[in-house]
Symmetry: none
Subunit: 478 residues, 2 copies
């Protein structure tokens, strides 16, 4: 007969404790498969507990399949054929590498936002409003494209600021542009070939590839992607950022845009993905119209995000599908749930509607323009100024800095790193092509603390002087 001491049940109820004891005996093999268990009454008497306690323990074991019952006979141990226990935890977990790597004085590869920049107070007030006034809306599941009231607000915003007139139905909300790229691959099919700009942002290629698409590349000249190479690439999708190409900063002129639209119009399977990621930040002149607003043939899929303009950890992006694709999209992927929570969709909708988003953008534009100007002044005033050339594109959260040096970019970067400057050069972003641009570095100033700007410029100057010495020593030696 089973014997267990109930003196210390470790805080468990009697039945729970009994259930665990029997389970352990089954797992350890102390109770054999198909062995008959004592009747509830007998076991209760034997252990000095109530029949109910035994009954509860048996029910639990039964529900979990550790024992089985035979009508008019009683309870038996299930033949559970013990699984191997020993392999546990052989491979050690890859431990965190969060805060590793050298701490740079200035990291121009990091992108982030100042805590001061995000309008916490207004955002909180807006979400309060939403939770008070829109309870039902908050709990109502939207269609695959997202909450209609946010889509209406975005549609209005696009009309006002990007010259883009689209119906809210065409707007599809998703949790980040990365998610939307993946959604497009699922929509067009995994055998899709996407042409990317070279040089370009390497993560975009990784995302397309991890979704099963194949990527090819076309080079760029001073007007943007080379149409001849795009043609040769034999892709059905092309991914571009006509307002502000990364990393070159090129704004694609109208002529090239029409060539691109014309490429798309030649075959019904061709579409252009316009990644308009930082068009909100243009510091001189009017913002360029979006490519999508020039598209009469329904061949441009426009993508933008609030992660850049509002907050990088908000994960709220959208794409605009040409109308003729809408039905197809819903037929194929309409079963999906929107990946952004209603709480944030409705808060953002209210935030835009109340004019807070526009005000925030204006404020950030002033903020970044000042920061940018401060950086330009620091560079122009520093001791190696004559060897540093700002390539000013008037837009976006990065600018380009050409350095006069004969050292290759890789060596220059090492010297800069020794001076606490983490920076990339355009040549780093060439994927397939041979770099055509040397000595041009990308200063992404969005994450750097403003108070460090002058010293950062000075450290770049020091690095340039060191590079010059190295180069001249080499010349002498050679």
């Amino acid at each position: 007969m089973l014997s267990y001491s109930f003196e210390d049940t470790g805080g468990d109820s009697l039945y729970d404790y009994l259930y665990k004891c029997i389970k352990t005996d089954i797992l350890k093999g102390n109770l054999q498969a198909d062995e008959k268990l004592p009747s509830k009454r007998m076991l209760a008497a034997h252990l000095g507990v109530s029949v109910i306690t035994v009954e509860n323990a048996y029910s639990q074991l039964l529900a979990e399949g550790y024992i089985y019952s035979k009508a008019r006979s009683g309870y038996y141990v299930s033949p559970i054929g013990l699984a191997p226990k020993a392999q546990m935890d052989t491979a050690a977990p890859a431990e965190e590498d969060d805060d590793q790597g050298p701490a740079y004085f200035a990291d121009f590869l990091a992108s982030g936002a100042d805590a001061d920049a995000f309008p916490f107070r207004i955002w909180l007030k807006t979400s309060q409003q939403v939770m008070r006034d829109k309870k039902d809306e908050l709990l109502k599941k939207p269609d695959a494209g997202g909450c209609m009231i946010l889509r209406q607000q975005i549609s209005r915003h696009l009309a006002d600021f990007r010259g883009l007139k689209v119906s809210p139905r065409q707007i599809i909300i998703g949790s980040g542009t990365e998610y939307l790229y993946g959604l497009l691959v699922r929509f067009f099919g995994a055998d899709t070939v996407v042409c990317l700009e070279d040089p370009g942002y390497p993560k975009i290629e990784k995302i397309y590839m991890s979704n099963g698409a194949r990527c090819v590349h076309a080079g760029i000249d001073r007007d943007g992607i080379r149409i001849s190479e795009l043609r040769d690439a034999d892709a059905s999708l092309v991914h571009v950022s006509p307002s502000h190409q990364f990393p070159t900063g090129i704004a694609m002129p109208a002529r090239r845009r029409y060539e691109l639209l014309s490429w798309a119009s030649e075959d019904s399977s061709r579409y252009i993905i316009e990644d308009d990621y930082d068009s909100e930040f243009r510091f001189s002149g009017r913002p360029l119209p979006s490519l999508a607003s020039m598209d009469a043939g329904g061949r441009v899929i426009y993508i933008n995000t609030f992660s850049k303009s509002l907050c990088p950890t908000l994960r709220l992006s959208y794409m605009v599908l040409p109308k003729p694709l809408l039905k197809q999209f819903y037929d194929k992927l309409g079963f999906l749930s929107c990946t952004v929570s209603n709480f944030e969709q409705l808060t953002l909708a209210e935030f835009i509607e109340d004019g807070h988003f526009e005000r925030h953008l204006n404020r950030m534009r002033v903020y970044y323009r000042r920061k940018r100007k401060r950086f330009f002044d620091a560079i122009r005033g520093c001791r190696a100024a004559q060897r540093m050339h700002i390539i000013e594109e008037g837009a976006g959260l990065h600018f380009l800095l050409r350095i006069d040096t004969s050292l290759p970019d890789s060596e220059m970067k090492k010297i800069l790193a020794r001076h606490g400057i983490h920076i990339a050069s355009i040549s780093d972003y060439y994927v397939k092509k041979k770099p055509e641009m040397e000595h041009v570095f990308i200063v992404n100033y969005s994450a750097i603390d403003s108070s460090r700007i002058e010293e950062a410029a000075d450290r770049i100057a020091q690095s340039i002087e060191e590079a010059q010495e190295t180069a001249s020593q080499r010349d002498c030696a050679g």
Copy 2:
């Protein structure tokens, strides 16, 4: 010629108003399928509006598929046969199709949440706290797995409530289980073959397939998925819900669980995806332990969601990867951004830490237990009670109802629909196999208003009586 008065457009633009008028006429059948519409010019002249107005209205109708165009001929009404809505996934899940289709008295396919059920006040207070105290954390981009403090809270919760001891690093946060299934396909590769339970939830197959995986099926018996069929299926992944299979409600007993683990252990490429979607709602006995907690070999990927337990529109789910897969996961997909905003991750972390989540679950368990009980009482007390059999599985937000009838399920459902009852039968959920269970209906009671329960039961009773008449007339005739 179409004639509409533009005197009161209800605030709509002219084109929008015209678009709605024509759409209504198409839906009502006033405009017949394939009927030619007047030319833009003619209609504009006739109505006294500009050609652009008509053009915009036609474009909108075209984009939405209400009309089609023939080259050099004009516009025609699409043959929409009035039910593009109805054919949308009859067998399919709950969530679809918000405000469309007939309004049922009781919709047992809908899943939703009562506005009263979500703890708005506490959630708001918690997010207030987070925005006040955790500004920096809110703006700091987490790694691909999500915010560490939420992962720590989930890890603790899993240890306390699901007997699952995992390191926070093993937990990967994503915006909904649908997203996580896709992520798994991207991780294991698009050539992955996933075995699904048949009958099962059809949306899961759609999601895997839209991500490029191939799906195969294995039937289930009273203990859950048939291991022999799983073996024959030759898949490397199997997707199961051992705590509460949908739609049969089966809780997989320990024996079958070990067989499943044993299947996985036989080949290093095999993994089990445990979808523990509503394990929080068990109404009798202790919750069953998770399959993952029985897994000594690191072959189970555990998935769960807060959408079910907290709020369907929150889009916050997670999976637990076995430790040996972690490094591989980060090598392959570590470049991805987490798809849930920090704001919601940190709010949820605080919500769990402060004990609100546990209290919410307890409250909801009581709430659903009452609702369930009220339903059982209503069924047992109604006039066709002797022909209705509740198949009580003691868990989850649905139960099964077997109806004594000789009519096939499709006919029975039609009669029920005529009485305002929208319900699915288990036979609807068979994908490849021939239905083995007839006359068993799924009562998903989560979204139905409690005050309607008694009348819903009565309407089911009426339907059963009507079915009986139909059947006996048929017998007489035959």
